[in-house]
Amino acid sequence: MKVVIADDSRVMRQIVLRTLRQAGFAHHEYVEAADGAEALERIAEHGPELVLSDWNMPNKTGIELLRALRAQGNTVPFGFVTSEGSPEMRDVAAQAGALFVIAKPFTPEAFEDALGAVLS
């Protein structure tokens, strides 16, 4: 399966990738994007089965990316990986159509719980 990872921090993308491997999701193809606008392009190009996105990013935030996708009629499963995991943010994410919110700092178990149903 193909997964797009959008985060403006290259280091954080590396950590997300490492944690995905530790959570047992090593055998998927990961495509990286450095902001929301780039993620939109990569998603159009690759047609992934899942998008993992940061919330705060330049050139289109994560929530703007999700809304843009849904406005295009794209229903790709979408989850946030963000340092802000407040109930309000979770509500906003859910209303926009996100499947889950993983809060930073995270552990492999958080990815196992959230992604198990999507990637297994």
Binding site: D8, S9, R10, V11, M12, Q14, I15, R18, N56, M57, P58, T82, S83, E84, G85, S86, A103, K104, P105, F106, T107
Partner: protein, 162 residues
């Protein structure tokens, strides 16, 4: 206007708990308090993220370049002999302060937005935050080098943006 300035939910205990979680999960390291002399001179590197809205303030991490390199290496699980490019080092400490900021924001009521992390070094150091009200401060020991994590609040954050 600050929200409930008298009973700010942000205090040393919360910030230290956030730092403990970030150190363990992101850096794979235990927090060691700094028992040396309090670092008074401005640190060589400052990573900061602003909070604006009902609560206005700033989360800032300050340390020497060597400590920032160590933190970045720990995050990337890089070997001791591996030299990381400066952009990765800045990116890494920026993310540390970003995650601390996001978790500090979680303790606030009302509508507050987290900015993007910025890393300042050398002459473009932001010293204007000195005028702001300190809310919390802790000094940690990163393999013999002090690392400060501070939270400031101000009535108007515009004053401390450069």
């Amino acid at each position: 206007m600050s929200l409930l300035p008298e009973t700010s939910p942000i205090d040393d205990e919360l910030v230290r708990a956030v730092v403990d979680q970030v150190w363990e999960s992101l850096l794979g390291a235990e927090v060691v308090p700094w028992y040396g002399e309090d670092p008074v001179a401005p640190p060589a590197l400052q990573a900061q993220v602003t909070l604006t809205g009902d609560w206005n303030g700033l989360v800032r991490l300050g340390c020497a370049e060597g400590a920032a390199e160590g933190i970045a290496a720990a995050m990337l699980m890089a070997g001791a002999d591996e030299e990381l490019p400066p952009e990765d080092v800045h990116d890494a400490v920026g993310e540390v302060v970003n995650v601390v900021g996001g978790n500090v924001k979680g303790a606030l009521l009302g509508d507050t937005a987290l900015g993007l992390p910025r890393v300042l070094t050398g002459p473009d150091h932001d010293t204007r935050t000195v005028a702001a009200v300190p809310v919390s401060r802790c000094v940690l020991d990163w393999h013999g080098l002090p690392v400060t994590v501070e939270v400031f609040t101000h009535e108007n954050t515009k004053e401390c943006r450069s």
